[in-house]
């Protein structure tokens, strides 16, 4: 089927299968490999992207369901010259270990900060509760989100 997707402020015309997952279209057809697959069933959060600013698991969304929505992947969050405060704080505070959960973590955190620029620690933990880190770096991840929130507020 023919669809149009808007990803990272760019429009794409695509031919996809009706049962094709948004995750696969992003990775295989658009080459946006920053979105990861960890479980394929919405448990781990590695495939988190933003859909109209809300964090969703792209393994649970069909590509066709994303038509008409504004999508953002990790590639749209920042770049080396203009990193997002979250990207900066994750690197500076050592909130990155193996890095496989990192894009999803940053997008869940971005969804939170975009609607609540001064979250409490509890609010951060709740917003990130759908993202698993098996290197068990949660403490530093929460601190990195707090640091980024301070920078966003400034």
């Amino acid at each position: 089927m023919n669809i149009e997707l808007r990803v990272n402020e760019q429009d794409f015309r695509l031919v996809v299968e009706p049962d094709e997952r948004l995750l696969d279209v992003l990775r295989n057809r658009l080459g946006l490999i920053g979105t990861k697959e960890g479980c394929g069933e919405g448990e781990c959060g590695a495939c988190t992207i933003l859909m109209d600013g809300k964090a969703v698991n792209s393994c649970l969304v069909l590509a066709a369901q994303a038509v008409g929505h504004e999508l953002m992947t990790i590639e749209g969050v920042g770049d080396r010259l203009h990193p997002h405060p979250l990207q900066k704080s994750f690197v500076e505070l050592g909130a990155v270990q193996c890095g496989f959960c990192t894009p999803g973590m940053i997008l869940s955190a971005k969804a939170l900060l975009d609607r609540n620029s001064q979250p409490s620690e509890e609010e951060i933990k709740e917003a990130m509760s759908g993202n698993l880190c098996r290197c068990t770096g949660y403490d530093k991840i929460v601190k990195a989100v707090q640091r980024a929130a301070e920078e966003v507020a400034r």
Binding site: C39, V91, C98, T102
Partner: protein
């Protein structure tokens, strides 16, 4: 020595690539013209394979190659013993054993094709209890490689005089402890890209903890020279010991080398659980004696580690459990026997702490129970026995420096007094 970096925070070299989504894990790399590989795995824990029929799979449009044991030049791999087959020929020893592999134009076709492979299994009773598997009359799971017994490894440690130790003991605690099987569940499921490069070398891109070993096992199984095989380690999405064994490397390499086409493979989470090693479940039988002054005088410990279907790192892991069996405590009279036993459970291998984690449950619980029996605080019980410079371990090692246990416990004393120490 330059110690300036100690206590400072160094930015990871790979940090920026990871936060920007640029980092390449093996699932993130592709080659033009690549085929997709999938593996058929056994649903049975113990079975004899009477026949494998791949005709229906091979006939599916889009299937380029179907592989079984007979296509593997040297069908064996393993870190300590080559007791694991690339594709199983006759004897299935665990759920998840690979039987056949398919290369096809798409993932969908590859997965459809493996479902069409017909395997005629003679299902055999499984050995799932390591203590049953240890018995002399238990059927041997690896008679050719490991002999008539399923006891893969036994390490006895003896120190002092047990009789004298028990005579001095005013209190004796005897208990059995069990730890469970654990999966590393690293967040990135195994994936691999294998291809033949412009020099005619087999290149295998993989997330591994052990690139030089992978290279040797791929070369051995395929009958290639080391110089013909190149393993490139991609970003590793967590490992924790679970990427020390071969996963998809040889199967992908075999298909790429035979078909001269790039092969991409990715495990689903379920396939990942079914195929890589686990943390050893252990049974720990502990008998510990102490004097009324709270000094440990004797320990008798039997540790049984479930190695599962293949040896992997079991001897080393179970050896480490034995060496750590006393905990960080001085015990003059010690009898430790540690075993690795083959069963039809998922195979056990390396996982964080490599066998040193399991005995903690036993020796620390024993300390708490002894303290309670003697009317001492758990902290005091430990301080009276803790290793210090000059202590000799159960294996006869004299500790000569950097033994910070007592200092560490003393630093914790104020905290323990407030909430940590129930007594």
């Amino acid at each position: 020595m330059n110690e300036a970096v100690v206590g400072t925070r160094i930015e990871r070299e790979d940090g920026w690539g990871k936060v920007l989504g640029e980092t390449h894990f093996p699932a993130d790399v592709n080659r033009p013209g690549e085929l997709y590989g999938a593996v058929l795995r056994s649903p049975h824990a113990h079975a004899h394979i009477r026949s494998v029929n791949v005709r229906a799979a091979a006939a599916l449009p889009g299937v380029v190659g179907v592989f079984t044991a007979e296509n593997v030049p040297h069908n064996a791999h393993g870190v300590l013993f080559r007791d694991q087959q690339v594709l199983v020929s006759e004897c299935v020893r665990m759920v998840g054993d690979p039987i056949a592999a398919v290369a096809a134009e798409t993932e969908k076709i590859a997965r459809e094709a493996i479902a069409r492979v017909e395997v005629d299994y003679e299902i055999l009773p499984g050995l799932f209890d390591p203590e049953e598997a240890m018995k002399p009359d238990a059927p041997a799971l690896h008679p050719d490689m490991h002999g008539p017994s399923n006891v893969l490894y036994h390490l006895p440690i003896r120190r002092g005089d047990m009789q004298a130790g028990w005579t001095k003991a005013d209190v004796v605690v005897e208990k059995e402890y069990r730890t469970q099987m654990l999966d590393h569940a690293f967040l990135q499921p195994e994936a691999v890209l294998a291809y033949v490069d412009e020099r005619g070398h087999l290149v295998v891109k993989v997330a591994t903890q052990y690139a030089h070993y992978d290279r040797g096992e791929i070369a051995h199984a395929l009958g290639l020279k080391y110089s013909q095989v190149r393993v490139k380690t991609m970003a590793v999405g967590g490992a924790f010991g679970g990427r020390e064994d071969i996963s998809l490397q040889i199967i992908a390499g075999l298909m790429a080398w035979t078909l001269r086409k790039p092969i991409k493979m990715e495990n689903t989470r379920t396939e990942s659980f079914l195929s890589h090693s686990k943390r050893h479940p252990m049974r720990l039988y502990y008998k510990t004696g102490a004097t009324k002054d709270g000094k440990l005088v004797a320990l008798e410990a039997k540790i049984i580690g479930d190695a599962g279907a293949y040896s992997s790192w079991s001897p080393n892991v179970v050896r480490k459990a034995a060496i750590h069996a006393t905990g960080p405590y001085e015990i003059p009279n010690v009898q430790i026997d540690s075993y690795a036993v083959l069963t039809n459970n998922p195979y056990s291998g390396a996982m964080r702490a490599f066998g040193a984690a399991q005995p903690v449950l036993a020796y620390e619980s024993q300390m708490d129970l002894l303290a309670e029996a003697l009317g001492l605080s758990p902290l005091e019980m430990r301080l009276r026995n803790i290793f210090h410079v000059g202590s000799v371990t159960a294996t006869g090692q004299m500790l000569t420096s950097s033994v910070g246990m007592a200092k560490c416990l003393q630093a914790l004393t104020p905290y323990l007094a407030t909430k940590g120490d129930a007594s």
